[in-house]
């Protein structure tokens, strides 16, 4: 803890860095040394943030801001210190302006000035830190929200793609059996096949009928033969009747009756000959009609066969195109699903890496707390000075102990202990993270 010094020696040890300067030097020399503290603090804070930045632009910017602010404060302090050297105002004017004289400064009377300085500067630094932390939290929060939305959309795309693929491939686990494109394709192919089969059956029936009609030709030929037989019998009968008439005339009066019979027989023979001729004519007409019908039927069968063949080819072509489109759809659905899954995995991994924000935010909040503690320490020093108790050197041990107490991460503790390098990465793959202990 803070060690109390001799009462007649007041030591602005808060800014002391060189014991030799403190013991034997002037207050100005001590203050000149201490003017570099802002830069040192800024550099330290910047280094911490750089170490944890892991190449992230925003965080590096915060670290850079620390260094720049520290450098600016140091420049300002050294400039202020150098002015009196170039042209200090007379003692009376310095007194009027409230400047401490050398003895006062030597006795730590410049502490109020520094207190004023730190109370002006430190809240600005803290404000910058808080602002950076807030902006970082808001930006990363917004980023993770957007990533989360993208992942949700990809989930929906993957689900829709999987459903489409499942449906396209005819169902399966989670799919709708019977509603897939392949099922539709198979059903269409089956239905169209039935149409073609019906057409083919119709053509075959017509061909069978044609064959039966063509079979009638045989009967026509038999009819012709029969008609020829009838004509021949008629001729022979007429010849016989003629011979009978001749023989009857020879027989004279006795053959007269036979002659009448022979005449009737001849008439019948003539009649049967005429009928045979008419039958032959009708058979010829029927034959011609059958021949023409067969010719027309053959033409029709040929055309229908051609139509069936064309229909089959067209249906096969349409089904092939449909199959091609279905296969392409199935393939594209699979590609889409795989791509979406890959993108989703990448984004999920990127989101996990965004956990760095929580860690950086904690580190910055610890710095803020430390700055507040620093201001409190200065106030305590000033209170001690006003009570005339002198200013004890500020002991870094409790200050650092308090800082250590606020730490939660091993990297912070390692940095403070100087025992190890801080982690160069704050991602999920960095060492120290992801350790699981089951109780």
């Amino acid at each position: 803890m803070r060690s109390r010094q001799r009462s007649n020696v007041t030591r602005p040890c808060l800014y002391r860095s060189n014991p030799n300067v403190f013991e034997g030097g002037r207050g100005r020399e001590m203050t000149r040394v201490s003017a570099y503290y802002p830069f040192a603090i800024g550099l330290l804070a910047g280094t911490v943030v750089f170490a944890l930045a892991d190449g992230r632009g925003g965080v590096i910017g915060v670290g850079l801001a620390f260094v720049v602010i520290g450098a600016a404060a140091t420049w300002h302090a050294t400039r202020q210190l150098s002015r009196p050297e170039r042209g200090q105002p007379p003692d009376e004017r310095r007194a009027e302006a409230g400047w401490p004289d050398d003895d006062q400064r030597h006795a730590g009377a410049d502490l109020p000035g520094w207190q004023h300085f730190w109370h002006q500067v430190m809240p600005v630094w803290t404000g910058h830190l808080r602002s950076s932390r807030g902006q970082s939290e808001a930006a990363i929060g917004s980023l993770t929200q957007r990533f989360s939305g993208i992942v949700a959309n990809l989930d929906r795309s993957v689900a829709a793609s999987a459903a489409a693929e499942s449906a396209s491939s005819g169902g399966g686990p989670g799919g709708h059996a019977g509603k897939g494109l392949v099922d539709v394709f198979a059903r269409s192919e089956r239905d169209l096949g039935q149409v073609v089969a019906s057409l083919t059956s119709s053509v075959n029936s017509k061909a069978a009928m044609l064959q039966k009609i063509q079979g009638l030709n045989r009967f026509i030929r038999e009819l012709h033969t029969m008609v020829a037989d009838v004509a021949r019998i008629s001729d022979q009968t007429r010849l016989l009747s003629l011979n009978a008439t001749i023989e009857a005339s020879r027989a004279g009066e006795l053959g007269r009756g036979f002659s009448v019979v022979a005449g009737e027989v001849r008439k019948l023979a003539n009649l049967s000959g005429e009928i045979g001729g008419r039958i032959d004519g009708n058979v010829a007409v029927i034959n011609q009609a059958i021949v023409e019908a067969c010719r027309a039927a053959e033409q029709s069968v040929r055309e229908e066969n051609q139509t069936v063949a064309t229909s089959e080819a067209t249906i096969a072509g349409v089904l092939a195109s449909f199959r091609e489109a279905t296969d392409a759809l199935v393939e594209s659905a699979a590609v889409l699903r795989n791509s979406s899954g890959g993108i989703k995995a990448e984004i999920s991994e990127a989101m996990v890496q965004l956990q760095f924000q929580d860690r950086v935010s904690q580190i910055v909040s610890h710095l803020e707390q430390s700055f507040d503690r620093f201001l409190s320490s200065i106030d305590e020093q000033e209170t001690e000075r006003q009570r005339g108790r002198g200013i004890a050197p500020m002991d870094p041990a409790p200050f650092l102990a308090e800082l250590r107490k606020s730490y939660t991460m091993s990297e912070e503790r390692s940095l403070l202990n100087g025992s190890a390098e801080p982690s160069k990465s704050t991602g999920a793959s960095s060492g120290g993270g992801g350790d699981i202990t089951f109780f």
Binding site: E137, I140, G141, L143, T144, Q145, F147, S148, V151, A152, D155, K344, S348, E349, M351, V352, Q353, L354, Q355, F356, Q357, D358, R359, S361, Q362, T408, M409, S410, T426, G427, A428, S429, S430, G432, G433, G434, D435, I436, T437, F438, F439
Partner: protein, 122 residues
């Protein structure tokens, strides 16, 4: 029916990262920004597992776990502490409070899902 997990963290980004991971794994997710908020969200819900940060405003993780273990409905609900804190003393405090596991941030998704699968109640 999907299991419901309550995530408690004052960091929005951590809650969103967890939410996205858990939803992708098929869990329903409820979110709370601190221990007090989480206690209010437990009412009237069937929570199968809780993932809680340790350092939070209003009511920290250890206090929250102790409070949950006082609730008859959630007495046996497994709790995973997810924190940057890796000190053994803190872990012992978590264990004494009733936590079932201690995960040091940044977590690895596979490990986290494995731990959840191991602990989540049927």
């Amino acid at each position: 029916m999907a299991k419901t997990i309550l995530t408690v963290d004052d960091s929005l980004s951590v809650r969103q990262v967890l939410g996205t991971l858990l939803k992708s794994a098929g869990y329903d997710v409820l979110e709370a920004c601190d221990g007090q908020d989480a206690l209010s969200k437990l009412k009237g819900q069937k929570i199968h597992l809780i993932i809680s940060d340790v350092n939070m405003p209003k009511l920290d993780g250890i206090g929250f776990v102790k409070a949950v273990k006082q609730l008859p409905t959630y007495k046996f609900t497994p709790i995973i502490m997810l924190t940057t804190e890796s000190e053994e003393q803190k872990k012992r405090e978590g264990q004494a409070a009733g936590a079932k596991a201690w995960v040091v941030k940044p977590f690895k998704p596979d490990q986290m899902l494995g731990a959840i699968e191991k602990l989540v109640l049927p």
